[in-house]
Amino acid sequence: MGDDKKKEIRPLKELSAYCRRYLPAILVSLLLGGAGAVFSVVGPDRIADMVNVIEQGLTGSMDLRRIGQIGVFLAMLYGLGGVFGYGQQYILTTVTQRMSKRLRTEIAEKINRMPLRYFDANSFGDILSRLTNDVDTIGQMLGSGIGTLVSSATLLIGALVMMFVTNGVLALSAIGASVIGFVLMIVIARTSQKYFLAQQQTLGEINGYIEEMFSGQQIIRAYNGEAPAQENFDEINRSLYDSAWKSRFLSGMMMPVIGLVGNLGYMVVCVLGAVMAAKGTIPFGVIISFTMYIRLFTQPLSQIAQVLTSLQPAIAASTRVFEFLGEEELEDESNKTKYLSSVLGNVEFLHVRFGYRPERTIIHDFSVAVKAGQTVAIVGHTGAGKTTIVNLLMRFYETDGGQIRIDGIPIREMKRENVRRLFCMVLQDTWIFEGTLRENLVYCKEGVTDAQLDAVCQAVGLTHYVKTLPGGYDTRLSERSSLSAGQRQLITIARAMIADAPLLILDEATSSVDTKTELLVQRAMSTLMEGRTSFVIAHRLSTIRNADLILVMQNGDIVESGSHRELLARKGIYAELYNSQFEKGA
């Protein structure tokens, strides 16, 4: 139980810590809410006065002047209460929205600070669900929650005080009825919390599944896999349905229970009050004001219940959001002072050891020294660890052992940003984002002129393509615009050329480009590679024939190294690889 409690409280704590910067605004709104609540409490007292005056008038003449006075006073009170109420709401919605915005921003920023490892193990859909669904849920709770909670509490206390002041016996009996309600409320909240968490989790799960299925839809259809996919989906959907209705129902029970408590109180007051009034112990006005107090007393109770209801999905949601925000981050590097602005380009791998998962080392002991300006080609069978070398070089992943040095400085002692600034890179996976062609090419580099763009497009053979676009460089490209894989690759190559960094990485950069285009690209590349230390990974051995150094990898280690000629002469793995592209008499 104690653990459960902690689990419930922790996200709340984090959430409230999160609210701290909005504290002044929240305080003001609470003050306003409190004041509004005080007005509401004072109201019935005045009404009771009014009723008593009227009752006195029942038998004699009506004191209309006095009634008028009370009426005007009350009208002003209510009016002011309304203004305060809106003031409170206004501030709170503002705070809530700003906070949701900040949460979203932080999640987005967090994505950038997380090691790639995390994304290997978690689905994008689930992360996106945290960003939209969960933040939304928190926002909705906060928007109505905080304000209601405080004004309700004020109202509750105020009503209590006024009730005791008016009549102690009635107050006690009314409270007695309410205590039962409170106990029930807590029991319900506890049970439904479980289902809410389940619901939020299943929601994330279903989001992930939908994301995966929708993006692979074409393949699923090709293999007539719709039916099993639908089956799987229905299964998750069913468990979502289950937790959804259970949580909804249980939390929905809160309101009727509170209603019962209210009615009980109402009844007790009516009966008891009537008996007392019949005995002449209390004036009738007391009953009137008491019935109003009971409303004032149960109304906040039911509102608190409502907040608790909305609090539960919100707790579940904030658990997920803060869980994400609390994930392990990349090491903080603000204290790293080693900085390389211009490099010669000597790159050294010293006894590098690495595995994507700690229990499975895939690079065992990798050492190589590359001199400035050299072109290094890495070849090997698929899965030999070629891309991993790049991942380490760019510090997408950190080595488990050994060192990588650029110009003698271990890259771990530099900031990641600095390391990456030294490289321009073209990856196997082409990535085009929604935006204009210009944005896709220039990306985050500043001050690129059209002339530069023209030159680069000329170099990679995009000029014709650009000319056929209706808006030239300013044509919008989107996720599904009909770009062929080759065109995508050309764009990413052009992007790398514009970035113009001192070191170059080409990871299968030309695998989707036809050989004719490749020739063009290669010409451009060789200009690009001039004077730059370059790392080239390619299957097409024609691409790497001219490399200064060829590293042949197998199972994560270098098994051969040397120039094309040397390696061919050795008649080892490289020779076998190279010759396999020309199937002799096959």
């Binding site: 029942l58 009350l74 993006s215 090709a222 209603g259």
Partner: protein, 562 residues
């Protein structure tokens, strides 16, 4: 409840009434309270069930619908938008229905009941209540007019937000490589800010509702007593009449409160309604999308013919004057393509980037329908085949290898659910995946992460080829599926494939001459037209474009190697 209160009021005001009677009335009140709770819980139960099952059905239909979409429909929405629509939007609807059902079943009864109770009392009071109701209605209307369009924008912005965030995730390596985190964050912030601003406005306006409701509720009871005082004053000093009005007044204020409260609950509903309407609209947009490509009725399973040997799984393919252009595009991507592939033959397509090779491969499984001309399999138009039958025949391997979370086996056996262990094993061995799969933790039942990110690009490709092999189709389509493989693997794989799927018809889109040089027929595409057709040797003689491609890949000496 207030009725009994009225009884009590009368009793209290009538001197000499018995305490027993008061208690009796109290008992009725208790019963009422319990009954009301039971009824509320029951409605809550049904509301929750109905809402959740509605959401479940909607999600299921939505999923089914989207899975039935073709590329054209998919292009119309975006994946991100489809995801928000099938989760966030449906959740909104579910919430409204759950709350709505509870309110709808309760409030009208409360309202009507309350109104019938008070309508016969003093008209001045009724008028006050009517005025209050009118005022609230006006406010709601005003808020709705102001807010409704904003909610539409909010949902669209949520889509945008999702899109940018997705972009950040899918491009994470590139973003980091270019130190573009700040740039991307800037893009995100832009959407985030406009989403927040729109939200702020909409919520600030909506926030008006509750204080106004409170104001009106409080005001109404004040007004009733105030007016009551004047009524009493006007009623003259007659004791009984005054007493009646007084008791009426007390009861009236209770019922009026009830009417207004009921109205307030409806207001909550109205506050939620606009946003939900937008969601409903977005869901319907998807559900109402007419899928353009219609499945045919031909059940072509009978084509499994018996020739010389036992049953042979093979089929012929014919393109007759096929032209294709993307919907809305001005120019043909493919123009007047005609060729025939006899059963069991291998045909290869080669050409420059953007020459239409992949589009051509996409037409056969009907990802798109031809704009002009027709495509025949075994003499039957592809559009006449029942779509599942058509796809049963085809083993399609896409340019970008797609794997799904699950195990190696579940990915490979996707096209053939009942595949035996041996069949899976055979497919893995043909696709040259045996070795790395055996090294994976768990082997064939080893875990594959979403998108296959835990295996390398080449391994992904080989598994997706295994998937096609396992299906044992009549026609293979390889859409540039060998590009991520090194030459040696490429060659071994093709040899194995040739051996085990000898009778199957194969269409290969490729860029490497080495991959296709042994094809029965090579078709060279340029700008969507056929620029040459023939064997490797023939094309080397006759086709200029082919010569260029060949020369760029091999030296003169290598060209004549074999």
């Amino acid at each position: 409840m207030p009725e009994y209160m009225s009884g009590i009021t009368l009793l209290v005001q009538t001197p000499g009434s018995e305490i027993d009677e008061i208690l009796q009335n109290g008992g009725y009140m208790l019963l009422c309270a319990l009954g009301s709770m039971a009824a509320s819980i029951a409605t809550g139960y049904f509301a929750a069930k109905v809402a959740a099952s509605l959401a479940q059905k909607l999600r299921s239909r939505m999923f089914c619908k989207v899975m039935g979409f073709y590329n054209e429909e998919l292009g119309h929405f975006s994946t991100a938008s489809l995801i928000t629509r099938s989760t966030n939007d449906i959740t909104q609807v579910q919430m409204l229905v759950a709350m709505g059902l509870q309110i709808i079943t309760k409030t009208p009864i409360m309202m009507v009941w309350g109104i019938t109770k008070i309508i016969r009392k003093q008209w001045q009071w009724s008028l006050t209540v009517a005025a209050a109701v009118l005022m609230i209605s006006l406010v709601i209307l005003l808020v709705a007019i102001l807010v409704l369009p904003r909610f539409k924008i909010i949902q669209a912005l949520t889509d945008d937000l999702n899109r940018v965030a997705r972009e950040n995730l899918t491009g994470i390596r590139v973003i980091r490589a270019y130190n573009a985190e700040k740039f991307q964050q800037g893009k995100f912030e832009q959407v985030n800010a406009s989403l927040t601003d729109t939200n702020l406005f909409a919520n600030r306006v909506t926030a008006l509702l509750m204080p106004i409701m409170t104001l009106v509720t409080s005001g109404i009871s004040l007004a009733i007593y105030w007016i009551g005082a004047y009524l009493l004053d006007g009623a003259g000093a007659g004791g009984m009449e005054r007493l009646d009005i007084f008791s009426d007044m007390v009861v009236f204020s209770q019922y009026a409160m009830q009417v207004i409260m009921a109205f307030a609950m409806m207001t909550v509903l109205f506050v939620m309604l606009p946003r939900v309407m937008v969601s409903v609209h977005r869901i319907n947009e998807v559900l109402d999308t007419e899928v353009k490509i219609k499945s045919g009725t031909q059940d072509g399973r009978t084509t499994e013919r018996t020739t010389g040997r036992a049953t042979e799984r093979t089929a012929s393919v014919e393109f007759r004057h096929v032209s294709f252009r993307y919907p809305g595009a001005g120019e043909d991507v493919l123009h007047d393509i005609s060729f025939t592939v006899h059963a069991g033959e291998t045909v290869a397509f080669i050409g420059a980037t953007g020459s239409g090779k992949s589009t051509l491969a996409n037409l056969l499984p009907r990802y798109y329908d031809v704009t002009e001309g027709e495509i025949l399999i075994d003499g039957i138009r592809v559009s006449d085949y029942e779509i599942h039958t058509l796809r049963e025949k085809i083993g399609y391997v896409s340019q970008k290898a797609v794997l799904f979370s699950g195990s190696v086996a579940s990915n490979v056996a996707m096209g053939k659910r009942d595949a035996t262990e041996e069949e899976v094993g055979r497919a893995l061995s043909v696709s040259q995946s045996e070795e790395f799969v055996s090294r994976m933790a768990g082997g064939v039942s080893g875990e594959i992460a979403q998108g296959g990110v835990n295996v390398s690009g080449g391994q992904r490709q080989r598994l997706s080829i295994a998937r096609a092999v396992c299906k044992n189709p009549e026609i293979y389509i390889f859409d540039d599926s060998f590009s991520a493989l090194d030459y040696k693997t490429d060659r071994l794989l093709r040899q194995e494939l040739e051996r085990c799927a000898k009778d199957a018809t194969k269409l290969i889109v490729a860029q490497r001459i080495g991959t296709i040089r042994h094809a029965d027929n090579i078709i060279v595409l340029a700008d969507g037209k056929i620029a040459g057709m023939g064997t490797h040797a023939g094309l080397l003689e006759s086709c200029l474009i082919y010569q260029e491609i060949a020369r760029s890949q091999m030296s003169e000496e290598e060209l004549h190697h074999g």
